[in-house]
């Protein structure tokens, strides 16, 4: 009995010691945030975990709105710098980081990704993607972010590959070639997860590519489907391209789309037809360039399309992030796709069937008299580029461009970075050569840039009227994020990060970060404290309150 008691006592002591050890281990775990796998359900319900930023546009409807409200209109002027992460490779940062349970994933130029502690900015791991020397990129060495599913990150690379990276270690899991980089293809946008598929676009619209949207199985990297954004022979729309121009018609897909789980539709924009400024060699509407495509979430089949700028000759890509929301338009409940297009018109479109609902210009434009009942533009004659050049608004960079707009369900307003400018467009005759630029002209300003003006504009999507505007210096290219703290965050071309009252547009706070903001802000929470992050120049800055 005594021996049994002693044995029991010894066992209890051992259990107590091991329990204590286990408790110490748990404490260590708290010190180092751990994330649990990101399931598809978590992505569908990303709104319910506002402490994380789980995808490029925050949520599948791409609203870029967070319900966090610790930082709000009353205290935003108390924001202070918490940390800065310096990207070692000098280039411009268009990254939109993800935050998963206290860990931040930042992409860097040219095609690298780093994981850092979201409270300190200090590194866990880094993945450097090896690149060939003969890249074909039109517009800088950019990467805008990763996607996550399970414990795997997915990233586009400049050599037109898609890579899968272990989110805990940075180890490469698989690497697939999406297209031939030396033919003019490249990849810059964050992929979008749809169920167990990695949906991803392609860049190269200035190199005479034939655009497409791909979906890859997340576990293997195997191609599930490819939908070309230019129909092939025998397919609907192929006859909207004269001769063989469909083969080199561009229509790239270089920004991240949105997804509606109830409709099972993927929404994705397409870029300019090629060559950009000389439409003589590609007569017709040039489907599906400059369009919004709604694709079946399982098969990639085109359910409907809406072409914003048929036969575009000004490089006005529909490379914008579509935003989805439930709205009442003229008394009718609708699922609406909101779209501020590079052609300077804002559109509200029925997300279920692509029906055109309303539109208005949101920036200076001189090319269209208006839109007809189906949303097709009625052009002002004589606005196509000439050999000598012709002045048109908006300029090549558009009334807006690829940088993310935002929507706040609290205010019901859509927010966009707009540019009022004009440019002389001209055309050139060029022959297509594989891997060479194929643009057929260009544009030039005839005034100093400071003579123009950019704005943050707030639009009521039920009427498409602009409700308020806030002036910033020209050619701003920052995205917009709103919060339930009543705030709108964005940046400027001259290196500011700032907050406005999302309801009124009143300026609440700004800080000079010194270099251009090319990225969109995110907000997240760790240990009950809200943070706001933005990339400026080559640095990711993170702000929070003094708690």
């Amino acid at each position: 009995m005594t021996r049994l008691f002693c044995k029991l006592f010894t066992t209890l002591i051992a259990a107590f010691i091991s329990l204590g050890f286990a408790q110490e281990q748990e404490f260590e775990t708290v010190m180092t945030p751990a994330f649990s796998p990101i399931t598809w359900d978590r992505l569908v319900n990303a709104k319910d975990e506002p402490h994380n930023w789980l995808m490029y546009s925050g949520t599948l409807d791409a609203q870029r709105h967070s319900s966090l409200e610790e930082v709000n209109v009353d205290n935003v002027d108390e924001l202070e710098l918490k940390w800065a992460y310096q990207i070692p490779e000098i280039d411009r940062a268009e990254t939109v980081p993800l935050v998963v349970d206290g860990i931040m994933f930042i992409t860097e130029a040219p095609s690298n990704v780093v994981a850092v502690d979201a409270r300190t900015g200090r590194q866990y791991w880094r993945y450097n993607h090896e690149l060939p020397e003969d890249l074909r990129i039109c517009c800088g060495r950019n990467n805008r972010g990763v996607a996550i599913l399970g414990e795997t990150l997915f990233m586009s690379t400049l050599d037109a590959h898609l890579v899968a990276i272990d989110a805990r270690t940075g180890n490469l899991l698989w690497d697939v070639e999406v297209a031939k980089h030396d033919s003019g293809y490249s990849k810059t946008a964050a992929p979008l997860i749809v169920k167990d598929l990695v949906v991803t676009g392609i860049a190269g619209g200035e190199f005479g590519i034939r655009g497409f949207i791909d979906a890859y199985h997340a576990d293997s990297g195997e191609l599930a489907w490819r939908t070309y954004t230019i129909p092939g022979p025998g397919e609907f729309g192929n006859d909207t391209w004269s001769d063989d121009s469909w083969k080199t018609g561009g229509s790239a897909t270089w920004i991240t789309g949105a997804y509606d789980p109830d409709l099972n539709l993927i929404y994705w924009g397409t870029g300019n037809p090629g060559p950009d400024w000389n439409g003589d060699v590609r007569l017709g509407d040039n489907l599906y360039s400059d369009s919004a495509l709604a694709l079946n979430g399982d098969t990639g089949e085109i359910d409907w399309y809406f072409q914003f700028t048929p036969h575009d000759v000004h490089d006005w890509d529909a490379i914008q992030v579509p935003i989805l929301a439930d709205l009442i338009i003229e008394g009718e409940d609708r699922r609406v796709m909101m779209w501020a297009n590079r052609n300077a018109f804002f559109y509200s479109i029925d997300a279920a069937d692509g029906q055109f609902l309303k539109a208005s210009p949101f920036a200076t434009q001189t090319w269209a008299q208006g839109l007809d009942a189906n949303g097709r533009p009625v052009r002002v004659p004589g606005m196509a580029p000439t050999y000598e050049g012709i002045m048109v608004s908006p300029p090549i960079t558009g009334g807006t461009n690829w940088y993310s707009p935002g929507f706040s369900p609290d205010t019901g307003l859509f927010y966009v970075t707009a540019f009022d400018g004009e440019q002389i467009f001209f055309k050139r005759d060029e022959d297509y050569e594989e891997g060479e630029r194929y643009t057929g002209g260009g544009g030039r300003y005839d005034q100093p840039m400071d003579a123009f003006q950019s704005w943050i504009r707030a639009i009521d999507p039920t009427t498409t009227e602009t409700i308020w505007e806030f002036p910033i210096m020209p050619r701003s290219s920052a995205g917009i994020t709103t919060t339930s703290g009543g705030l709108l965050f964005s940046g400027t071309a001259d290196g500011y990060f700032f907050a406005l009252d999302a309801q009124t547009g009143q300026e609440l706070w700004n800080i000079s970060l010194g270099r251009r903001v090319h990225a969109a802000p995110i907000t997240y929470e760790v240990d009950g404290e809200q943070y706001v992050s933005i990339a400026s120049g080559n640095v990711v800055y993170t702000f929070g309150l003094d708690n």
Binding site: D91, G140, G435, R437, T492, G495
Partner: protein, 270 residues
């Protein structure tokens, strides 16, 4: 009114014969420089530049602060001669967005591109002007009273651009326009801003800096003022130059002399 300028920098016809003679030879970057520099070569280089390079460097090759691509029309930081330019085009600049051209692109075409870039950076010693630079200096300091507003090598006023090296970056014809029609192409740095502060006081000055949220000016007494835009009553821009036109007040010969003097202003050689 424009001066008659004989520019020989494109007049390299004698080299055409040499180029034709050597055109079947393989030229490497280690050779002395471009043999493909006839006006025809320059025009082909320009076509290639427009198509492949202008997206970053601009159609006027003056660079782009957004892409970070440098101005190619002035002094180049990374190359001091044609071979240096050739090597950059052929090899790119590692760690930057300046990628190498296609490896299959023939050297001939790279040299034509070099010749085009060189044509933008003409040799000022080959430019012959009608005016006399010494007479122009006297006008600058005397009748024109230019030095009351402009500095040259540390002497002069602060109410206009420093002209110590204006000849490096400005062609004679553009100098003439600046003197006779100063309201054409006013650099935003020299716009005038009239700022009324919260105290109701209005100050007028040159636009030293303006951004989305603040503005800085220098008034005519060289005082520097800085404002937050959310802390002022109003701000008005005057996008005209404060400089008078010399079109009426100087003769054609005097204008030629002044241009000759300004064009001679470049970095002093030790």
């Amino acid at each position: 009114m424009l001066p008659r300028i004989d520019i020989f920098w494109k007049g390299l016809l004698p080299l055409v014969a040499i180029a034709l003679t050597l055109s079947n030879l393989q030229i490497s970057a280690e050779d002395a420089g471009a043999l493909y520099n006839t006006p025809y070569d320059v025009s082909l280089g320009e076509r290639y530049f427009e198509r492949q390079c202008s997206r970053c460097h601009g159609f006027d090759a003056k660079g782009n602060d957004e892409t970070g691509a440098p101005d190619l029309t002035g002094r180049l930081n990374r190359a001091s001669n044609e071979v240096g330019i050739f090597n950059i085009i052929r090899n790119g600049v590692p760690g930057t967005a300046m990628l190498p051209v296609d490896a299959d692109l023939p050297d001939t075409q790279v040299w034509q591109l070099v010749s085009y870039i060189e044509s933008l950076r003409y040799d000022p010693n080959l430019v012959q002007l009608d005016g006399n630079a010494d007479s122009g200096l006297a006008l600058f300091q005397g009748k024109g009273d230019c030095s009351s507003c402009h500095m040259v090598r540390g002497r002069g006023g602060r109410l206009g651009p420093d002209l110590s090296r204006v000849g490096e970056s400005t062609r004679p014809e553009d100098l003439m326009v600046a003197i006779t029609d100063p309201h054409e192409n006013v650099d935003p740095r020299w716009w005038t801003l009239e700022v009324t502060g919260r105290d109701g006081v209005t100050r007028s000055g040159f636009r030293m800096g303006e951004d989305s949220f603040s503005v800085r000016i220098m008034d005519n007494d060289s005082n520097l003022w800085s404002y937050q835009k959310n802390d002022i009553q109003s701000i008005d821009r005057v996008e005209r130059s404060t400089m008078p036109s010399y079109d009426e007040s100087m003769s054609e010969n005097e204008l030629d002399d002044l241009v000759a003097y300004l064009f001679s202003l470049r970095r002093e050689e030790n």
